[in-house]
């Protein structure tokens, strides 16, 4: 049985009829052919399907498409409109922050969301001051902690941290490196 849902995906309006059991991830991949988010576990454990939903980074495999009527969804592909790479994409390339690339779209979306969270002054478990009252300085420890929801089995973490640092430095304080 189908349910109508309206989504804005990477800036494009979409009206879909989906099964109530269809996740946002499956809606993106199987219904809309947007192969940018990846299914690594389908249980919110690996982060490969991370997208930005109304600006927040979320695991798209844990969201039911029918519950997102009207939402704005950005995938890694949408962060590079017309193929124009964002600072984050460019930094991942320059720092060799991936091998097989399967986790990369999720890492990019997660990094974009994370930069915004840090800019908004939201602390992580390694932030010394639980109420920073301003942008959190993105030390290596901060980046590692905040990127730990995105697994990379190829083991590119060292380079991912360098890439996120590079992107953060490109647009200091704005947290807008993803866009």
């Amino acid at each position: 049985m189908g349910h109508p849902v309206h989504l804005v995906i990477d800036g494009q309006q979409h009206d879909l009829i989906v099964d109530a059991r269809t996740t946002l991830l499956d809606a993106l991949r199987d219904h809309l052919g947007n192969m940018s988010p990846k299914k690594g576990c389908d249980h919110g454990q690996c982060g490969a399907c991370t997208v930005l939903v109304d600006g927040r980074r979320l695991n798209s495999c844990l969201l039911l498409a029918v519950s997102l009527d009207g939402a704005e969804v950005l995938t890694s592909e949408g962060l590079a409109p017309d193929g124009e790479l964002s600072d984050l994409h460019q930094a991942f390339l320059e720092q060799d922050a991936f091998q097989c690339g399967y986790c990369t779209p999720g890492q990019i979306c997660s990094a974009a969301g994370m930069l915004r969270e840090a800019a908004d002054g939201r602390p992580s478990v390694v932030t010394e001051d639980t109420d920073p009252g301003g942008p959190v300085e993105l030390t290596e420890d901060e980046i590692r902690e905040r990127m730990s929801g995105n697994l990379c089995r190829c083991g590119a973490y060292v380079n991912i941290v360098a890439a996120v640092q590079q992107a953060a430095a490109a647009q200091p304080g704005t947290g807008e490196a993803g866009r």
Binding site: D19, R21, T22, D26, D30, K38, K39, G40, C41, D42, H43, Q45, C46, A48, D96, F98, Q99, C100, G101, Y102, C103, E140, D141, I143, R144, E145, M147, S148, G149, N150, L151, C152, R153, C154, G155, A156, Y157, V158, N159, I160, V161
Partner: protein
């Protein structure tokens, strides 16, 4: 539409010898998680719901899923490595002034590439096409076609990109066969099947458990006189696979009296297979930990102990070594790491509630080239099309082979159009055993030479030549291995036992490094997986049912970003003319080999506690 496929209606296979791949052929069940049927539907939601509705009736037969080294059914592996037996080890052990007698173990470890195994299949008449993710399209075709009862030419496999493999996509597993059988039930239609992350733990191979019993006798100066290793690995009744933990011990260190044996224990559990550096990764856990214990027993620096047991000829084959630079790696790595400042006493360094220690371990991996890869070069509209059925698992094949072709043809890389990952291209050997680039690159270089010889510097459009990689004759005359050294610093929290790897340094000797950027990434990735091996990864086998209980990424832990702090990679600047025209030995696996032992040795140095069963848990370091 829904269709249920079982052993009652699935295609009869032409060859059922391979118990892993011969699925849906009879009522027998080899292990929990084995495919008993499939549900086909128009949508994944319907198919999944349909599978939930299927009821299966089973009879329980006696079964055994408990791995232990002293099990009465421990036996030699079929076609496994020969035993080593030289001299009189028992007499030498009895005469030795220092004896270290210890047992080490490694658990089930699961490859878990981020991309789960997925196959799309379609039969057109008697021809089958598989779009899949594999480390070798041609080897997969060679394995599957005879079982399906078709000629290799009737099976096309396409796999241009692979989302990580680490061995789990090295041979085709039952998921590929299941998809082929399911598609056979709906001829002309396309069937897609993605293995769930949970099911990967049962279907797509894993590193079996090992138990390694070392007895080493030495003189007070550390010279090894007797060396005994009895290794046992877990296996499956459904299909045999030995994890040959003895491999590195055969050639690493000198010793006159030696006994080295590999056995396995078949159980009613899932089928194990390759996982990054099978044999070496597990075997160097025991060997490099026992060497650390021997160094301690002799009062020697662990690097000096290794230097004193450096063999002149390969103890395994008696052949001279090719470019064995283990000691260069250990010494240069030590200097970069700051090893000289180390206080050798355990538990000597304490900072803010953390005990801090450092450890070292050697690394090794065989260097070999697989014969039989072929490459085709064709000039099309000013571009050199280079075709070979090679695979890129994130290892950089697309980049490195383009580079090799450009160098060999003496043109810009922009003029090369590489084609890989398709059985319609010339034959390529598997991306495994760190042989990929050396094997395929040799074929590409041969094709390039032939192309220039046949068509000159100004070829006309459509000019075409092929080349093939042959066996490396040097492998008959020299013991060819890569070597390396891992250094690790760990901190162990005194009251909680929490263990962190503060920094690691890897120093490698691997011949010519073709692309420093992708090479560094391979070493980093291997070391990162080594951290997982040391601190996180363990498949918990339920002895009642024989399945892995923690079968997902929430409970089977792999390193996350916060687990990895400073990793440094260096290599010796060298070329290896004996390795072949590329001068390169493989690098995909050596990064993991020895990494876990370096961490375990560092943990011992930090705490004085020797943990001999991986992975190290915080509880291991708490008072008992």
């Amino acid at each position: 539409m829904a269709l249920v496929l079982t052993h009652e209606d699935a295609l009869r296979l032409a060859d059922t010898e391979d118990g892993e791949l011969a699925i849906l052929q009879d009522e027998g069940i080899g292990f929990r998680g084995q495919y008993l049927g499939a549900v086909l539907a128009e949508t994944p939601e319907t198919a999944r719901h349909g599978a939930d509705l299927v009821e299966i009736t089973t009879d329980v037969a006696p079964h055994d899923a408990h791995f232990r080294h002293d099990h009465p059914q421990v036996r030699e592996a079929e076609g496994g490595a020969d035993d080593v037996e030289t001299g009189d080890v028992e007499a030498a052990l009895a005469a030795a002034e220092i004896v270290v007698d210890q047992r080490y173990s490694t658990p089930l470890e699961h490859n878990n590439p981020m991309e789960p195994h997925t196959t799309i299949a379609r039969w057109d008449g008697e021809e089958l096409t598989l779009w899949t993710s594999t480390q070798g399209v041609h080897p997969a075709r060679q394995a599957l076609a005879p079982i399906l009862g078709i000629e290799p030419e009737q099976l096309r496999i396409i796999s241009p990109h692979v989302g990580g493999g680490f061995g789990s996509k090295g041979v085709p597993h039952a998921d590929m066969m299941l998809t082929a059988l399911a598609a056979r039930a709906v001829p002309g239609r396309t069937v897609k099947y993605a293995v769930s992350r949970q099911h990967m733990f049962a279907i797509t191979g894993y590193r079996p458990a090992t138990s390694q019993h070392f007895r080493i006798g030495a003189g007070p100066d550390g010279t090894i006189t007797a060396f005994v290793l009895e290794a046992v690995s877990s296996s499956s009744h459904t299909k045999e696979f030995p994890e040959e933990a003895i491999k590195p011990s055969r050639q690493m260190y000198a010793g006159e009296h030696r006994r080295i044996t590999q056995r396995l224990l078949p159980l009613d559990i899932a089928v194990p297979s390759w996982m990054r550096a099978p044999g070496e990764a597990s075997g160097m856990v025991g060997l490099e930990m026992v060497m650390d214990e021997l160094a301690e027993a002799c009062g020697l620096d662990p690097i000096e102990l290794r230097a004193r047991n450096e063999p002149v000829l390969d103890p395994d084959t008696g052949l001279p070594f090719n470019q064995r630079r283990l000691l260069d790696c250990l010494r240069e790595g030590a200097e970069r790491f700051g090893w000289a400042e180390r206080d050798p006493r355990p538990r000597a360094r304490r900072e803010g509630g953390w005990l801090i220690g450092t450890g070292v371990a050697s690394a090794t991996y065989p260097a070999s080239r697989q014969p039989g890869s072929q490459a085709r070069i064709r000039l099309t509209a000013g571009s050199y099309e280079v075709g070979i059925g090679a695979a890129d698992l994130g290892t950089g094949t697309w980049t490195a082979l383009t580079q090799v072709a450009a160098d060999a043809l003496e043109v810009d890389p922009e003029q090369i159009t590489l084609q890989i990952g398709d059985t319609s291209l010339p034959n390529a050997t598997v991306a495994g055993g760190s042989t990929g680039l050396a094997s395929w690159g040799t074929a590409v270089m041969a094709a390039a030479q032939t192309f220039r010889r046949e068509h000159g510097r100004a070829p006309s459009d459509g000019a075409e030549s092929t080349g093939e990689a042959e066996e490396n004759p040097a492998e008959e005359e020299l013991a060819m291995h890569s070597y390396g050294a891992h250094f690790a610093q760990v901190s162990v929290q005194e009251t909680t036992g929490e263990i962190r790897v503060d920094r690691m340094l890897g120093m490698f000797s691997a011949g010519r490094i073709i692309n420093p950027r992708t090479a560094r990434s391979q070493f980093l990735g291997g070391m990162t997986m080594g951290v997982g091996m040391a601190l996180h990864e363990k498949g918990e086998l339920d002895p009642r049912f024989g399945h892995v209980v923690n079968h997902d990424l929430a409970e089977y832990h792999v390193p996350v970003n916060a687990d990895i702090r400073s990793l440094e990679v260096h290599w010796l600047d060298e070329e290896d003319p004996q390795a072949g025209p590329l001068g390169a030995r493989g690098i995909g696996e050596i990064g993991i080999v020895g990494a876990a032992a370096a961490i375990a040795n560092a943990a011992h140095h930090a705490t004085g506690v020797r943990v001999r069963d991986l992975p190290l848990f915080g509880s291991d370091f708490l008072p008992r």
